[in-house]
């Protein structure tokens, strides 16, 4: 069987363990160096390595020469080889300031890579960084196989005040797992509200108002966001009973924004197009909760499976004033 190529996924370079063991050589090293150069504008380059420190140093040096900044750190000894990670770009300081935290989380992430999942950098927030795992063609059922992994990763995540989200996009879409590390004193803004009953609606909109004001949104946007959250919370309470709303101060396409994610495990929406086009009118409101949310948000995405629940994600960009 041919070993897989080092994967280049946007901003990240990965080398798989078996590949490294079997055919690491001057040629491959050169190829990776070339990729680092090619991805010069990328925010971060990451290499998973189980190979000798000398190889890593070479990579680290070439990244430094390109002015990207780099740091290596190691964690676990596996037989004769040691797990070493190379992180370059603006997040190199993370590896330096909290090598242990970084290493522990990376280790779990990389155990995923060996199961043929790819890793990429996404949603980079000042003071925090995120890595996203994607396995092409994975389906919801595959989640079960990774349950153990998620639990392990989650334990580490909790212990270190980082967040971890596992979700499956679309029916056979990529499995996405994101992990965030918050640096000391600069925790990335993230609020999770348990929405349960009327108080949950009031609580969530109060928090939404607080967070959006804190982030510096203008008065109209603050009302937009608060209204969106109120609608989403009400949908959760009325249709699913309870759920979770996550408010997150993040960056998308280079722009700071607030994302609101409303998740429930309710009956789901089977006629989503009708709901959004206004054909369907509920008996409980004006049948326009979701429609209003879509109009008020800059980005709007809803995923729902009948019988499994609904996830609505909206995003509001922070405009420069």
């Amino acid at each position: 069987m041919t070993p897989p190529e080092p994967t280049v996924k946007g901003t990240v370079i990965l080398a798989r363990q078996n590949y490294v063991q079997q055919c690491w050589g001057a040629e491959v090293l050169w190829e990776v160096k070339r990729q680092i150069e090619k991805e010069y504008d990328a925010p971060a380059i990451l290499a998973a390595t189980w190979y000798p420190r000398a190889v890593l140093s070479t990579l680290e040096n070439s990244a430094r020469q390109l002015g990207k900044g780099a740091a290596t750190f190691s964690k676990r000894k596996m037989g004769s080889s040691e797990a070493r990670y190379l992180l370059t770009g603006p997040y190199a300081h993370l590896a330096k300031s909290a090598p242990d935290k970084m290493a522990a989380s990376m280790q779990v992430l990389f155990s995923c890579i060996y199961r043929d999942l790819a890793l990429s950098c996404e949603g980079l927030v000042p003071g925090a960084c995120a890595f996203v795992l994607r396995g092409e063609g994975l389906i919801a059922a595959d989640l079960e196989c990774y349950e153990g992994f998620f639990e392990e990763a989650l334990t580490i995540a909790k212990a270190q005040q980082v967040s971890m989200v596992a979700k499956v996009d679309g029916a056979a879409g990529p499995l996405t797992l994101s992990v965030r590390w918050a640096t000391e004193g600069k925790a990335c803004g993230r609020e999770v509200v348990n929405v349960n009953g009327e108080f949950g609606i009031m609580d969530s909109r109060g928090r939404a108002m607080e967070v959006s004001k804190q982030m510096g949104f203008g008065p109209v946007d603050v009302v937009n966001i608060t209204t969106c959250v109120s609608e989403l919370a009400r949908n959760i309470v009325y249709y699913a009973g309870e759920g979770i709303i996550t408010l997150e101060d993040t960056v998308r396409q280079g722009q700071r924004c607030l994302t609101v994610k409303a998740e429930d495990r309710g009956p789901g929406i089977s006629n989503i197009d009708d709901v959004l086009s206004g054909k369907y009118r509920s008996t409980k409101g004006m049948g326009m909760g979701l429609k209003a949310v879509r109009k008020l948000a800059d980005e709007f995405n809803v995923v729902s499976y009948p019988g499994e629940g609904t996830t609505v994600e909206v995003c509001k960009y922070l405009k420069r004033r």
């Binding site: 009327e198 109209v220 409101g285 326009m288 429609k291």
Partner: protein, 121 residues
């Protein structure tokens, strides 16, 4: 001025032939529903001919609340009561327009003075 009915945090104030309802914070859904019922009761009990909802303290009006206001104004209309909403904040007004709340076709006024003038104080 006399406080005849008080409901949670939403007072219903009777002044002459007018019922004034200053809504201080966005009410919970059940509070809002209760307000609808209590207001109509208050209208009957006091024989008021005018009803003014003051929403100048509200920093958010979502679709549910919009619906409740619409119901209050229209139900009051059925009882022969002129009802109006006053003091919608600019940011809230913009949001309502952005939401496309066409059903919010009730009489709204800049402030209490304007409403009283129109309703005939």
């Amino acid at each position: 001025m006399q406080r005849d009915f008080a409901l949670g945090v939403i007072p219903i104030i009777r002044m002459k032939g007018l019922l004034l309802v200053p809504i201080q914070t966005p009410p919970s859904d059940s509070q809002a529903r209760q307000l609808l019922e209590d207001l109509l009761d208050a209208v009957i009990a006091t024989g008021s001919k005018k009803l003014v909802l003051d929403v100048s303290a509200l920093d958010m009006i979502d679709s549910y609340l919009t619906r409740i206001f619409y119901d209050i104004v229209n139900a009051a209309g059925k009882l022969g009561v002129k009802a109006a909403i006053v003091g919608i904040r600019p940011a809230v007004a913009i949001t309502l327009v952005q939401m496309g709340v066409e059903s919010f076709s009730v009489d709204t006024f800049l402030n209490l003075d304007a409403a009283l003038e129109k309703l005939g104080a």
